[in-house]
Every structure is written in structure tokens, then in C-alpha cells.
């Protein structure tokens, strides 16, 4: 009983904070790894151009436009050209990137909610804890035991619902 109470609270907390802080980072990280590993030409090219762009930008910032105008101007031309090229190229990549991230987001959602749902389903007959009969009317006791827990107890489903609402309200 107590194990079940603690584990469901911890699981909900984990899911909540994962969604809030870690999910986006996870998705971005996965995308970067995929781009590194992938043989997709567009992705590779986009990454290369971006790297060049950042290199030129860094060098541009390190060059004084007043002391070395010729060098600065050439770097600036290159930067402008790479910027346009990258923006054009990004238009192609962005669609794929959006799709990739959306699918991954859905996958993570299914993973987290699915796991919780599985636990609920598996332990649906297990009562989390019992309530004294005199506290509530019989119909309320019946509702709290839905869908398949013992009458007079609070079911895992109801308990998870309460936990989630509480966590959402607090954080």
C-alpha cells in the first residue's frame, strides 16, 4: 500500500518535471545526434553551413573594422552570403526537423503516459488505501473504487488523478 502511494507520487512528479524541463532538451539532443549520425545530405549540408557561419562570425567579431577594413569587409561578404545560403537551405530542413521533433515528442508522451496507464491497468484491482465506511455515503465510496477496486477503498486510478491534479496545482 504505502509503496504504491509513494511510487505513484514519485512517478507523477518525474513525469511533470520531465515534461517541464527535460523534454525539450531531450528532443533537441536526439535531433542533434540524429543529424550527426544520419547520412541525409540535406541535414549534413545544413550542419556544415551552420558551422561555417559560426566560424566566420567568430572571426568577424575578432576583426577590427576600422583597423583591417579589407579583411573585415571580405569576412562580412562571406557572412552575408552564408547567411542567405543557410536560410534558403534551412527552409528545406525545417520541415523535416519539425516532423522529427513532433514524432519524437509524441513518442515520449506515449512512453510516459503509457507507462503510467500500464501501471494503472495492471494494478487496477489493488486498493491504494481503505476509507472508513461512515465517512462518506455509499455511492461516493463506490465512485472512489472505480473501475475495479474493492468497494470501500480508493482505487489506483482515482489516486493517480488526485496526485496529478495536486502536482499541477503546486508546481
Amino acid at each position: 500500500m504505502m509503496d504504491l502511494i509513494i511510487s505513484t507520487i514519485l512517478l507523477s512528479l518525474f513525469i511533470h518535471f520531465f515534461d517541464k524541463f527535460a523534454k525539450k532538451r531531450t528532443i533537441d539532443g536526439a535531433y542533434r545526434i540524429y543529424v550527426s549520425v544520419s547520412n541525409n545530405k540535406d541535414l549534413k549540408k545544413n550542419k556544415e553551413i551552420l558551422e561555417q557561419l559560426l566560424t566566420v562570425k567568430k572571426e568577424l567579431n575578432a576583426t577590427s573594422s576600422q583597423d583591417q577594413f579589407a579583411k573585415w569587409a571580405r569576412l562580412n561578404r562571406k557572412y552575408e552570403q552564408l547567411s542567405q545560403e543557410w536560410e534558403k537551405q534551412s527552409a528545406n530542413v525545417k520541415i523535416f526537423q519539425d516532423t522529427f521533433k513532433r514524432v519524437l515528442s509524441l513518442f515520449l508522451w506515449i512512453l510516459t503516459r503509457g507507462f503510467r496507464f500500464y501501471i494503472q491497468f495492471k494494478e487496477s484491482k489493488t486498493p491504494v488505501f481503505f476509507l472508513p465506511a461512515f465517512l462518506l455515503p455509499s455511492w461516493a465510496l463506490w465512485v472512489l473504487s472505480l473501475p475495479r477496486s474493492i468497494y470501500g477503498s480508493v482505487s489506483l486510478t482515482v489516486w493517480n488523478f488526485a496526485v496529478q491534479k495536486t502536482i499541477s496545482g503546486i508546481f
Binding site: 573594422s65 576600422q66 583591417q68 577594413f69 579589407a70 569587409a73 571580405r74 562580412n76 561578404r77
Partner: protein
């Protein structure tokens, strides 16, 4: 191919007999008008007829030649084949609007079409340019030199043909869709709305603009001369202008650097400090624009005003200036 730097003169412009349009532009206060007047004088020596136009609202031409010029071409005193005119783009728009109203006072479409046209960004300046082209076309000049407004205006000015062509293309599209409806509405209201005439004008204007647009992108016909001084802001502005011109596909391969202190014998501390600064940027100019003709023009003691002063000044554009070495005697 020779690795020597290109001659630092504008002689190449005089030799290129196919040139029809020459633009002279740069940051404000660097000597654009003096340079364009001098170039016009030199061009008049090798061409049958030359027109110098100022599109800068500041209108410095009259001051430079000591003669009042207006919006009609007038001969420059002392020259048979050199004319000058000053155009204010803003006034051109007003005149154009008034003309349109006078020609067809009962046309209910004129107001609507004007409002419609002016919602297109840049269209007002493009129409002003169209007005200029109309005037120029009717004058058969062998070569036209533009003394343009400071850079920002110039860049918009040079992009007009493209902007206008796109705009009129859109209006043309409207014509095929709404023309018949406008005719019916006109006949119902008992007004002879000459829709075909209106769109016909637009279309012919578009054809003209398209032709000029091609000419501007033809390096045999059009070139842009950048004028600057050897200071950072002017240099930065020149670089920006050259990149814009490149994106517009307009040829540019001449740079005139004015107000240089070239006296190697000076002992004036301020002149020496200033010359040192100028030499720094001059070196950068030569490195960055190695495929340009870089003309170095010294700072002259007197103001360059009047025909005679401009004539002598213009010699420095076609022959590299050699400082007299016997200054102390």
C-alpha cells in the same frame, strides 16, 4: 594577365564608347557633385551630346556651375554639347497626378487606380523615375550622367526599374481579371470609363521600364562610379553600396577617393596626422578593391566652383595627380 593595379583614372569610361548611363554616388559630403560635373566635362570632350542630371533634392549642380538649372535640360555655359537639369522626384509625382486628373476629369477610376497603385511599396519613387525616363527618352542624348542623392536614396533609386516592373506586372494581372467588370459598371453608370486606355498606358510604361531595366544590368551600357573619402564611415558606406549594386547586377568598377592630403613635404602636424589616417584606409581600399580603378584626388586649396575651376579639377580624373616636388622654391 597583368598583376599590376588598374590605372587610377576614369579614362576607361571615356574609352568605353558604348556607355549610355553613368551614375555617380556616395555618402553625403564626399564630393559627388564635383566629381559628376568633372566627369561630365571630360565626357563632353569625347561624346556628341552629354546630359548631366541631378536627382539629389539638395540640388548642388546650380551651385557648382554658377548657373540656375531647372527641370528642363539647359546648356551649360561655355559648352555646346553639355546640358544639365535638376529633378525633384517629389514634385514629379505631384505633376503626374495633376496631369492624369486634367486629361480625364470625369474618370471615376483615376482616384481609385492611384490609390491602388500607391499602396505598393516604393511605387512613388518608381513613378518619379518613370517620369525622368520619359523626359530623357525624348531628348536623344548620347550619354547621361546622374548626380545621385546620398547612398540610401541612390540604392532605392537604382532598384526602381525592378520594383516598378513587378508592380506593373501585378496591375496587368488585375486588368485581365477586372477589366470587363469595370467596363460594365462604367456603362451602367453612364460614364465612359476608358479602362483600356488606362491599362494600355500602364502596359506601355511597363514595357519601357523593362527595357531600361535590361540596360541598367548591361555593363556595356551602364556603370556606377563610387565616390568616397578616405575615412571609415565613407569607406563602410562604399562597401555597402558596392554589395547592393552587385546584388542588383549593376556594373561598378571605378572608385574616386577625394580630399586626399598627398603633400609628402608638409610639416604641418595636423596634416601629417590626418594623412596618416587617410593612408591607412587608402591601403585598405586598394587591397579590397584591387579589381577597381581607384582614382586618388588631392584636397585642393580653393573651392571647386565655376566652369573654369571644374575644368582644371576634371583633369585630375583622367591623369593621375603628381604633386609638384619643387614646393619650397
Amino acid at each position: 594577365m597583368s598583376f599590376d593595379p588598374l590605372p587610377g583614372t576614369l579614362e576607361n569610361l571615356l574609352e568605353q564608347t558604348s556607355l549610355k548611363w553613368i551614375f555617380v554616388g556616395g555618402k553625403g559630403g564626399v564630393g559627388k557633385t564635383t566629381t559628376s560635373c568633372s566627369l561630365a566635362i571630360q565626357m563632353s570632350k569625347v561624346r556628341s551630346s552629354v546630359l548631366l542630371i541631378s536627382t539629389d533634392p539638395a540640388h548642388n549642380l546650380s551651385d557648382a556651375f554658377g548657373t540656375k538649372f531647372g527641370k528642363d535640360a539647359r546648356k551649360v555655359p561655355g559648352f555646346d554639347n553639355l546640358s544639365a537639369m535638376e529633378i525633384d522626384p517629389n514634385l514629379s509625382i505631384q505633376e503626374m497626378t495633376e496631369q492624369a486628373d486634367q486629361q480625364n476629369p470625369n474618370n471615376p477610376l483615376s482616384g481609385m487606380m492611384q490609390d491602388l497603385a500607391f499602396t505598393i511599396p516604393g511605387i512613388d519613387e518608381a513613378l518619379a523615375f518613370a517620369e525622368i525616363l520619359k523626359q530623357i527618352k525624348s531628348m536623344e542624348f548620347d550619354c547621361v550622367i546622374f548626380d545621385t542623392a546620398p547612398t540610401g536614396h541612390t540604392l532605392r533609386f537604382l532598384n526602381f526599374p525592378t520594383v516598378l516592373e513587378k508592380a506593373l506586372g501585378k496591375l496587368g494581372g488585375l486588368s485581365s481579371r477586372f477589366g470587363p467588370m469595370i467596363n460594365q459598371m462604367g456603362s451602367i453608370m453612364g460614364v465612359n470609363a476608358n479602362e483600356q486606355d488606362l491599362f494600355g498606358k500602364m502596359e506601355s510604361m511597363r514595357a519601357n521600364i523593362s527595357e531600361v531595366n535590361k540596360q541598367f544590368k548591361n555593363p556595356d551600357l551602364t556603370t556606377f562610379v563610387c565616390v568616397c573619402i578616405s575615412e571609415f564611415l565613407s569607406l563602410y558606406e562604399t562597401e555597402r553600396m558596392i554589395q547592393e549594386l552587385t546584388s542588383y547586377e549593376i556594373d561598378t568598377h571605378n572608385i574616386v577617393v577625394n580630399q586626399l592630403l598627398l603633400d609628402p613635404n608638409t610639416t604641418c602636424p595636423q596634416c601629417m596626422a590626418r594623412r596618416k589616417m587617410q593612408q591607412k584606409y587608402l591601403a585598405q581600399i586598394e587591397e579590397l578593391y584591387e579589381d577597381f580603378h581607384v582614382v586618388k584626388v588631392p584636397q585642393v586649396p580653393a573651392e571647386v566652383r565655376g566652369t573654369e575651376a571644374l575644368k582644371s579639377f576634371s583633369e585630375m580624373l583622367v591623369k593621375p595627380y603628381v604633386y609638384p616636388t619643387s614646393g619650397k622654391e
